[in-house]
């Protein structure tokens, strides 16, 4: 009974905290766009905000609720539990199960689609840049697309190779390799798990920002920027234009005109965007120290909150 009560309390606390933090993120994330930092940092912060409710809820439940219940709840007392923690606990279980199912469904859908695209594919010579690039026959796939979560590969259609110049193709591949380095496919899969209504706009903004961040990572001089812009315009005339599977990143994601305009205005000085100074390190240290010194009272407070939850 004690163990069951503990599980119900932990799950209820998790559900409450996750919902509260998700709602907070859904309301406040737009403020991030005002930060004068690079697109890469904005994309990273958007991702961090998106997964923050899940991570914070898991960490706080494991670090505070479980120990406070174990240490401060008397085992001998057979306390009756109200319906609220049971309902919240069921909600948490449903949330986790739905998240898992969404991840599995996305993975399967992507695998099916990629298998279809890879039918008749051939390895492609990319000057030793990466052996992950393959070329495939037309099967309704986007012109260039990054697929795979654990071992990502870039698929390039035959028509793309035909219409792009060597320089344009190389810079387009560099753009996709930047997505590999950022593990953007894995992040998309994580989004599937973190279920909460009202997050679509955040995810779309993240998607658009990662494209711009990958553009910036690929380009090192004005010529590269023009080649990438030219590749975007040329490939936009091909159909179909977009990667539809969940765990893929299409080259032409987001607003093409915005990206082309940004690339044509590229200059070396501006590309060295303002970066976030390492404020994070002292902030984390201060948080850890304060947790260390206030852990006892925090556990008692958590226990009081959970007691209130039980009733």
């Amino acid at each position: 009974m004690f163990a069951l009560r503990e599980i119900a309390i932990c799950l209820a606390f998790f559900a409450l905290l996750y919902s509260f933090l998700s709602a907070l993120v859904a309301v406040t994330w737009r403020l991030l766009r005002l930060l004068p930092v690079s697109k890469k940092i904005i994309a990273d912060l958007l991702f961090a905000l998106r997964v923050l409710p899940l991570l914070a809820s898991i960490i706080l439940t494991l670090a505070f609720v479980v120990p406070s219940f174990q240490m401060l709840e008397p085992r001998s007392v057979d306390e009756r539990m109200g319906t609220m923690p049971v309902i919240l606990g069921i909600c948490a279980v449903l949330l986790i199960l739905t998240g898992c199912l969404r991840v599995i469904a996305a993975h399967r859908k992507t695998r099916r689609m990629v298998a279809q695209w890879l039918d008749g594919a051939r390895p492609m010579d990319t000057d030793g840049n990466a052996n992950t690039v393959t070329i495939r026959a037309e099967h309704g796939a986007p012109p260039i697309v990054l697929v795979g979560v654990y071992a990502p590969r870039v698929l390039v259609s035959e028509s793309t190779v035909e219409i792009l110049s060597d320089d344009e193709l190389q810079i387009a591949l560099k753009h996709e390799f930047a997505h590999i380095q950022s593990r953007d496919n894995l992040k998309k899969l994580v989004f599937r798990f973190c279920l909460f209504p009202g997050m679509t706009e955040l995810e779309n903004t993240w998607s658009q920002t990662t494209e711009m961040a990958a553009d910036s990572a690929a380009v090192s001089k004005v010529g590269d920027a023009v080649d990438l812009a030219a590749a975007l315009v040329k490939l936009s005339r091909l159909l179909p234009g977009e990667a539809t599977a969940v765990c893929t990143v299409g080259f032409m994601t987001g607003s093409i005109s915005d990206r082309v305009a940004r690339l044509l205005a590229w200059n070396a000085a501006e590309s060295r965007d303002a970066r976030l100074r390492p404020y994070a390190i002292p902030a984390v240290l201060i948080t850890l120290l304060s947790v260390f010194f206030t852990y006892g009272p925090a556990l008692r407070l958590t226990h009081e909150v959970t007691e209130w939850l039980v009733r």
């Binding site: 004005v222 023009v226 812009a229 315009v233 936009s236 093409i256 082309v260 305009a261 044509l264």
Partner: protein, 160 residues
């Protein structure tokens, strides 16, 4: 923007003067009728302006608070928000305008495709212009590095 479509459900379209006042209020952020007239951009009589902003308020486009003996009006939506609603409403009306619902949809797809092609043509022109500019800069740099070369020849290369 709000010329041809109803903006909110069954409310009527915005007339030119209503649009003018809404634009003036967007510029001001918030204003009383007297401030709008004092600005000089609105030349109509006080009562005309008062009646029109009252109509905009009743259409749900403005908020107002009492200030002394008058009202201070504030636009309820940004231009972007209003444009989005107008576009949505326009498309909804277009799709509902025919018994054969696929017909207006096909016109819409056609128009969007034509718009896309035009946009891509424009973008391509910009890219080509930038490429020419880049090429001519590189050529002129090479030319200045080799002063013995025929300058006319450099100019021709740059153009190419």
């Amino acid at each position: 923007m709000v010329r041809s479509f109803s903006i909110f459900g069954s409310s009527p379209q915005l007339g030119p003067f209503e649009q003018q006042l809404l634009r003036a209020l967007w510029e001001h952020g918030s204003a009383t009728v007297r401030e709008l007239i004092k600005d000089g951009k609105v030349r109509q009589a006080y009562t005309t302006v008062m009646t029109t902003v009252d109509r905009l308020y009743k259409k749900g486009l403005l908020d107002r608070v009492v200030e002394g003996r008058a009202f201070r009006y504030t636009p309820r939506h940004t231009p972007g928000e209003l444009q989005r609603v107008a576009a949505f409403e326009g498309i909804r009306q277009l799709l509902g305008s025919s018994d054969t619902s696929s017909l207006p949809l096909s016109h819409l797809v056609e128009a969007l495709t034509a718009h896309d092609v035009e946009l891509l043509d424009e973008l391509q022109l910009l890219v080509e212009r930038k490429r020419r500019e880049l090429h001519s800069n590189e050529t002129s740099k090479q030319g200045s590095a080799r002063p013995d070369q025929n300058p006319g020849q450099n100019k021709m290369r740059g153009r190419r």
